[in-house]
């Protein structure tokens, strides 16, 4: 069974699917050929703005909090600027640079091979868990660890267990501590628990996380408060607020990518012998967009164009808007669903699924258009059980082979 057997695609012949694949390839080629100085200027400008935001935020907290009159406004301004800086850095800059969207510039300072982002998760682990595991196996049960992140039951095919009753609580905790949830994501705690994880690899990853997390905590909760002297409490509170804002925002945006109704799940049989065109199809079917203006799209790392991002993860994010017009037209032409809605509705649907799936399937009705499939175990695959990565997902490295052996 292949993806083309999924109900939505029963009307497409193999030849039509291949044709769709060729048309998407053509879109990729067009964008690749037209990347130029304006795109380079875009990312450089954004990085500059983000760094100015960071400086302005830190300064406002350092200098503005000493006088009683300016304390509150300075703290609010500082927290806001810092929150914006972290959101921009994580979403539109870090995430996209690490996908290799800007590697074409040959700029070693803006390159997927060495970018380190302003969050607790080490870049290398992100590039593995996200660029490879999530983007290649998007929404494939057992292969894509982003279906519920090992914490939430997000697909009806996943077997229910009484632990799931706590989902609304886990969800709130995940949203609040999102950067730490992400930091632990590539460790794959579920496989550690079952003793399936290579202990050497685990140790290496834990060391990386510890080092990165320690630096992040020191910066926001020790060094800057200490510099603020007697006003350390204000600075600390503002830094907590900035991190919290970033956590909540990125959580909402990310949950709108694959959890709204309409984003389908797939089974491992469906990705057997998958062609490139079928991989494209699965990306369209498995992702959901949200609507918004240019500012919303930039602040969400252009992930409102989740479908386009999944089709072309390594094309510059500032182009997703124009790509979406073409992709939408293709979806109409081939009569394929293109899931999109306003941000609040997409998130509302994700939240509803979280609540509904905390109880057994028989208690609730499905909001998904997909045909019911038999329940699946939630066992996760290791890399050795996954097919090798495909290209176009952004470059990443799991460290050198010696590092992996030595640790």
């Amino acid at each position: 069974m292949a993806i083309s057997d999924v109900q939505e695609y029963m009307h497409l012949t193999d030849e039509e699917i291949e044709q769709l694949g060729r048309e998407l390839d053509a879109i990729r080629k067009e964008v690749e050929d037209s990347r130029g100085p304006e795109d380079a200027a875009y990312i450089n400008r954004l990085i500059r703005i983000q760094r100015y935001l960071a400086v302005a935020g830190r300064l406002s907290l350092l200098l503005g909090t000493h006088s009683k009159r300016t304390r509150v406004p300075a703290a609010v301004t500082g927290a806001t600027l810092l929150g914006l800086h972290k959101i921009l850095e994580n979403m539109e800059i870090g995430h996209n640079v690490m996908h290799g969207q800007w590697d074409w510039m040959n700029d070693p300072e803006i390159h997927s091979s060495n970018w380190e982002w302003d969050t607790a998760q080490p870049a290398e682990q992100w590039k593995h868990s996200h660029n490879y595991v999530h983007h290649q196996f998007t929404n494939v049960l057992g292969y894509d660890n982003d279906i519920g992140y090992g914490i939430l039951r997000m697909a009806r095919e996943q077997r229910w267990s009484p632990v799931n009753l706590g989902q609304p609580v886990y969800n709130a905790a995940l949203a609040t501590l999102f950067q730490w949830g992400v930091a632990l994501h590539d460790l794959d705690i579920e496989r550690i628990r079952k003793g399936e994880k290579d202990p050497k690899e685990m140790k290496r990853q834990l060391k990386q996380i510890f080092r990165k997390g320690r630096n992040q905590i020191l910066k926001d909760y020790v060094v800057y408060p200490a510099l603020a002297g007697p006003q350390w409490r204000t600075t600390m509170a503002a830094n907590v607020a900035a991190n919290l804002t970033r956590n909540l925002w990125s959580y909402v945006i990310i949950f709108c990518g694959h959890f709204p109704d309409g984003a389908m799940h797939f089974t491992e049989e469906e990705i057997e012998d998958e062609t490139r065109a079928e991989w494209y199809l699965r990306q369209i079917l498995g992702a959901a967009n949200f609507e918004g203006g240019p500012l919303l799209h930039i602040m969400s790392g252009n992930l409102g164009y989740q479908i386009e991002h999944h089709l072309f993860p390594d094309l510059p994010s500032n182009r997703y808007g124009e790509i979406s017009v073409k992709v939408k037209a293709l979806c109409e032409k081939y009569d394929i669903p293109y899931t999109i809605g306003p941000l609040h509705r997409q998130y509302g649907q994700a939240l509803r699924t979280i609540v509904k799936l905390s109880v057994p399937n028989s208690w609730t009705s499905s909001d998904q258009p997909e045909p019911p499939t038999p329940p699946r175990s939630r066992r996760r695959r290791s890399d050795s059980e996954r097919p090798d990565r495909i290209r176009q997902l952004g470059a990443w490295s799991r460290g050198t082979s010696q590092e992996r052996k030595a640790s």
Partner: protein, 357 residues
């Protein structure tokens, strides 16, 4: 003052405030040269030398050591259409520890879009990337008592750095310079060389304008410079010229005396085991000895390999490794994951490899 302040420690302490970035990433917002993350330089002046050649005077930023040796080359990366492209050029200015500038002289090659951009497209104030001085085509210390320079076209630039160094010290040994150029107008540094010749008795210059006089025949060397066998010879110019000179010196059994400019990277790490490299899209295969880079092997096999700086900086040469294992010749790091991106200019094969190109 630079020695009294432990800058490295200041920087490390500062990075606690800027992690995961470095203080440099913020300082460069104030002045683009205030960063040591990548070597940078600002174009201060573009001095036309001939119709198609210009000297770029560059002010290097933080981290530049001003310790290049006369004759070495540097990498320069410029942004063309949003993309950094890299080339290497000899430094033509003499090394000066207290110096604040370096100069490179570039000739716009026909269809060489980077060199053309450097000669005609750069305005003062442009920020460029730099790579540290490299190369062993350098003036020995102390300089040999008798020297012969065989120069063709823009190959004069490293030699100029040597001549200027000797001139500045005021101790020019017995030097013969044979300089070929298509015409008088296209001869880079002609006037300066004429001035040097007048100033120093021990400097003899032969000029040859190849459009009218023809190419240098090496059999003429006995006439032009009868004692060439006794001289340390430095040759820089077009590849066919260098090939002919090498052959001539080998026949005379004097290859020890001959020094050529080679634009190649010195690789410190251990070699790989070598193996068969398969270029899957072009269907070519080549045996690699484990010391040669994949880039060189690909070029040898006639595969259209992308390349840039050829020293592992610019990532232009990155290609996907489909399977197999490669070793980074700079530090011995090995990469062996399927569909991993590898920099071909600094890696060699450890066993059989397949590359997606």
């Amino acid at each position: 003052m630079a020695n009294t302040i432990p800058w490295e420690r200041v920087r490390r302490a500062g990075s606690k405030l800027t992690t995961p970035l470095l203080p440099d990433d913020y300082l460069r917002l104030v002045n683009p040269l205030w960063t040591t993350r990548e070597l940078r330089g600002r174009i201060e002046k573009v001095v036309p030398e001939t119709e198609d050649a210009a000297t770029l005077v560059i002010r290097p930023g933080w981290g530049w050591r001003h310790d290049h040796r006369a004759g070495q080359y540097v990498g320069i990366g410029v942004q063309v259409d949003g993309k950094f492209v890299w080339r290497s050029y000899s430094v033509s200015s003499p090394p000066k520890r207290s110096g604040r500038h370096i100069a490179i002289t570039v000739r716009a090659m026909p269809e060489g879009f980077v060199s053309d951009h450097l000669v005609n497209g750069l305005s003062p104030g442009t920020i460029v990337r730099l790579a540290s001085p490299e190369g062993d085509f350098v003036l020995p210390e102390p300089p040999p008592a008798k020297m012969l320079f065989l120069v063709g076209g823009s190959g004069v630039t490293p030699v100029m750095a040597m001549l200027r160094t000797l001139d500045r010290r005021g101790t020019v040994p017995d030097v013969v310079l044979h300089y070929s150029s298509p015409t008088e107008d296209r001869m880079i540094f002609r006037e300066e060389i004429e001035r040097l010749e007048q100033a120093h008795e021990s400097l003899t210059v032969h000029k040859q304008f190849t459009e009218t006089d023809g190419m240098l025949e090496l059999s003429d060397l006995d006439r032009l410079c009868p004692d060439w066998r006794e001289r340390e010879t430095y040759a820089c110019g077009p590849a066919p010229m260098l090939d002919a000179i090498t052959e001539h010196f080998e026949q005379a059994g004097l290859e020890e005396r001959l020094h050529l400019e080679r634009f190649s990277l010195e690789l410190g790490g251990d070699g790989g085991e070598g193996g068969t490299i398969t270029f899957q899209n072009s269907g070519k295969q080549v045996e690699l000895d484990g010391a040669t880079t994949i880039l060189e092997a690909g070029e040898e096999a006639g595969v259209g390999m992308p390349y840039g700086c050829r020293m592992g900086i610019c990532h232009t040469c990155t290609v996907t490794l489909v399977k197999g294992k490669v070793r980074d010749l700079r530090n011995g790091d090995e990469f062996d994951q399927a569909n991993e991106q590898v920099q071909t200019c600094v890696t060699t094969a450890v066993g059989d490899c397949t590359l997606d190109i």
